[in-house]
Symmetry: D2
Subunit: 341 residues, 4 copies
């Protein structure tokens, strides 16, 4: 049995982790941590959870002895505060915020907050699971990827790795369900504002842009530059990234599909598909579905990637990373299917 | 008083026209035409309309004497059938379908149906109102633009006209509310399928792509090529087009906004805006709102255009074209504001 | 020309009033008042409004000279504060909050706040327009009815007035769109909470319950008691009240419809309908649609009433009351149709 | 290992059963049956299912040898046809339609179709699991309750069983998500019609009304009569029933809650709760949540019941019944939690 703690159980990612861990056969919830609601029980917070008697505790670094893995399901900045207190923590830390994803200079530019110590950030393993397994096995700090970054990077790494496309000419149009905006109250997420609406936000300034570029640069010989627009949709969950790229090879659409299937054919959570993409094909699950289409008129490719932002884009991938880190079957506790209807 | 007939009153565009004409001070509904529901009264069809006693008639070309303007709010293919019967009709025909928009060869390729006679299509004036006023004044046939085409073309014509961007490098990601898919029943529009979903459809094959290219070519020295992806959203109305282009001039974002305001400053229905775009800023109205942003990192521009697909993207623009055609004030009957909340 | 001021233009009812007044031929917006946003212009707040240059002012009772009618589109408690300062105001005050609706003792019980002076409340005319026209003609204070109260009272007054039903056995199940919960941020109205949800709230404690009973008591010989449950729905606008009552007369369903049509046949904003009720048949308009059905098995009646909570349930009825008060055509500026699709 | 067949896998209930069985440790899918799609594989129908290679077969009664339990996830009328062919089938039949729920005369009145043979209907056990366990153990035919009937009966059986309320004075206002209307295409479920709408339907004629009365009569000394209104909501899943009753005992609200907890305290799928009811507290799970409130002013009780119409209201309860029938742990395969966000 592996013991875990979840910090930030009142937020959406924390809640999703609670639900996933509750059904996990090996990883056991030892501590539910929340500074704002310490003292309450889980069942007071979420009356419909099964394991309700557990009491919420405030974050205390020296009370974490015996915890094998600590999930930080806290916002950027808050995670950094906790990370600074966790240097002496013996277990593994998986941070779902952006605080371990970028080197200090980039972090300050895109997040506008003080970064964690550079030596910690450098040591952290970026947990895009399918592309990080070896490094994850011995990681102390795991930086869980951003939701948009997961969707886009899983789609594009094969293309830049094999030099199939021009990495300087990548246009991403992405959209996300409202949980992507977090649980905090804001005008943007007031139902009467968000409903029957599409809101374009953080234009040219979304912090997942440098994260994607950094990931692509790891696998590409040429420095990647990505333009990404992010749209907030009136749905609860899910991300779709529609990506337009310029291929280097003049091969058929079938061949592009075939190439992608070759890369991902054995992956339990990635499905290369054909037909018309829809976000519902993954919502409620840890899958990433991918499609690739060739536009004969322009010789451009359209690559489409969909994930559930709360699962593969947050809590699901975090648990997948924990499974890998502790040598468990990678799919343990993660095989729920999309709700679909 | 100008008399009009509306063909296809059971469809969404027909209904929107009914509502708009009901509140128009000068254009009067003389005939409500529907082959499928002939004999019913308007109030049986729409109990909440004000002018309910009127009876629906079947389409009969020789019964249209005295009608000044006939709106064809019928699907592609159906409009073509009616158009073939309207050669001797004395009034003006405004077709909301795609049947007059493209030359025969392009039409056959993209619509997969038999085109109308070439001489009629050639004679038809493409009614992107803001850019077609002179020609509209004497038109017999007016081809009302497609919804996506309206949103994208209003955004891009100024940029290609002045050679501000590379017309061969235009990437459009567009999304539409469900009324854009029409009133016909389909799995795609069943609530349990479309709700909490995003569906990408007609990938690389949307019939508005050649329409946009044709419009841009009218104003550009260089042949335009456009890649456009179209997403079906779980909202009723509205289109947002997020357009990525490569500018030829190295000027500031403020200057780009300024240039666009210079072009459209006097237009009653076009508003160049700043801040974060949202589709709700136009839904329920005939406005087209535009934004332009410069991405300093990549030197690309992001241009955003939003319209209500049922108004500026269909019935609203059709009525605007009728106003122009008959020398009325262009905004007559079209000044309803966005519902917003 | 009649001049008006609107207090609370940042809220939903204030915004709806702004939009309605903007299209009203006779009533002219003289002052847009907001304590929280004083100094901004309307166009900074709502870039898509047409009359944007106007500047928001703070509430100052002595700056209202020359205003014919002042709309208080402010929450309960806030309206009371302003009302206390308006004793010397020369114009008409139309309060959209609950602060003038109930006598002091009931107000304190149901609102839990200090009431306005009893003599003001007593003098105020309760503006359920269709049933208050005579009194409205000379009113200084007009108390605009609550949204649920409008829907339910318009349905039931004819039945209790003619002693058609048992007024002690009235069960109302009502549901409302999210704008009914106001613009303030709350967990209840966070999209991720409210979407795909129904939330039952204020069980047995909704402040519109005594308001409905008071209205029915005005018209009934027997004291009415009403049980009402209120459900918050994931839609923006609209109220449906499904009302179950015990009839005193054993007549057919057709006769019940006929009786209701006799009462309301000449009303411009009330439509007695047949077929299946839907909330969309009024949303975006000032109409109240009514249906009555007889359950033969149980001899109960089901009466259904739908309104747009922002129009007939708030701003629309306020303007209708203003039209009556100033001797204008009652429908002026209020004939917009339901958006429907 | 228990083998099952599912008839009607293309419908919503069939799909939900497929998903539940896929994750069930003991019940194994042997046959996926669909007359309309025979020959396709499951993965062609639902590319995101895990067990995709299985081929759909047409219904053939003599090809079912070796199947332990056959789920009929087919519409009323269609189930009846199959049931007539299943007299010689050796296994257990669980019918999710209404075809086994009512005696012939009531069935003909409310369903308007020819009933199954009376001896089969009489033999069938009505599977409201919590109240039918003994009879289920030996049932050949199990009639799975209707969705509204499940929600309402679970709430009311304790009250009529103990004579706590007047069974002749029960008013139910119920609402359902759109999956309740089935997968068939209809104007009512076209997104542009259903979205932002509430549609009241089958007024006084819903076929679950006699089903509820029959269940209550089984447990009550006095014949029950129920009035129920059913509202179609723009959400995918979930039912809320808000029930108003007249109590016989003058006890406190706490005592009512206590009484209900006494009845259901040991039930794994029923939770008596306090606070404000919401439909989301069960959607995605097999739970039924119950609340009871006392209105002091009127001495009425409001009882609220919520279920997921696809789980506890259909496929979930069917599997729960199968678990009971075959002596398995009742919760097997049914402990998924509500999705909540």
């Amino acid at each position: 049995m592996i013991t875990c703690g979840i910090v930030g159980v009142t937020g959406y990612a924390g809640l999703e982790l609670l639900k996933l861990v509750e059904q996990h056969p090996t990883i056991h919830l030892e501590k539910a941590i929340s500074d704002s609601r310490a003292g309450m029980t889980l069942s007071e917070l979420y009356p419909w959870l099964q394991t309700g008697a557990q009491q919420l505790e405030p974050f205390q670094a020296d009370a974490l002895v015996g915890i094998d893995v600590l999930f930080l399901a806290t916002p950027s900045g808050v995670s950094a505060d906790y990370i600074r207190q966790l240097e002496c923590f013996d277990g593994v830390v998986i941070d779902l915020s952006g605080d371990l994803r970028l080197p200090s200079n980039l972090y300050e530019t895109w997040y506008g907050k003080p970064p964690v110590a550079a030596f910690i950030q450098t040591e952290a393993v970026y947990g895009l699971t399918e592309w990080s397994r070896d490094k994850l096995l011995t990681a102390k700090w795991i930086s869980n990827p951003g939701c948009y970054a997961t969707a886009v990077s899983l789609a594009l790494v094969p293309f830049v790795q094999h030099d199939w496309i021009d990495p300087t000419n990548i246009i991403v149009s992405a959209c996300s369900g409202i949980t992507g905006a977090g649980k905090g109250l804001s005008e943007k997420t007031h139902h009467a504002k968000s409903n029957e609406n599409v809101q374009l936000y953080k234009i040219h300034t979304h912090q997942h842009i440098p994260e994607i570029e950094q990931t692509l640069n790891t696998w590409s010989g040429t420095k990647a530059t990505v333009s990404m627009s992010t749209h907030l949709l009136p749905i609860n969950r899910g991300i779709m990234a529609t990506i337009t790229v310029q291929p280097n090879d003049d091969v058929s659409e079938d061949e592009w599909v075939h190439r992608l299937q070759n890369v991902y054919g054995d992956e339990p959570f990635i499905r290369v598909q054909q037909g018309e993409p829809e976000i519902k094909s993954v919502v409620g699950s840890n899958y990433c579905n991918l499609w690739v289409y060739k536009e004969e008129r322009t010789n451009r490719l359209t690559i489409v990637s969909v994930i559930d932002n709360m699962q593969k884009g947050a809590a699901g991938q975090a648990l997948q990373n924990a499974n890998v880190r502790f040598g468990l079957e990678e799919t343990l506790g993660l095989l729920s299917q999309p709700q679909y209807i």
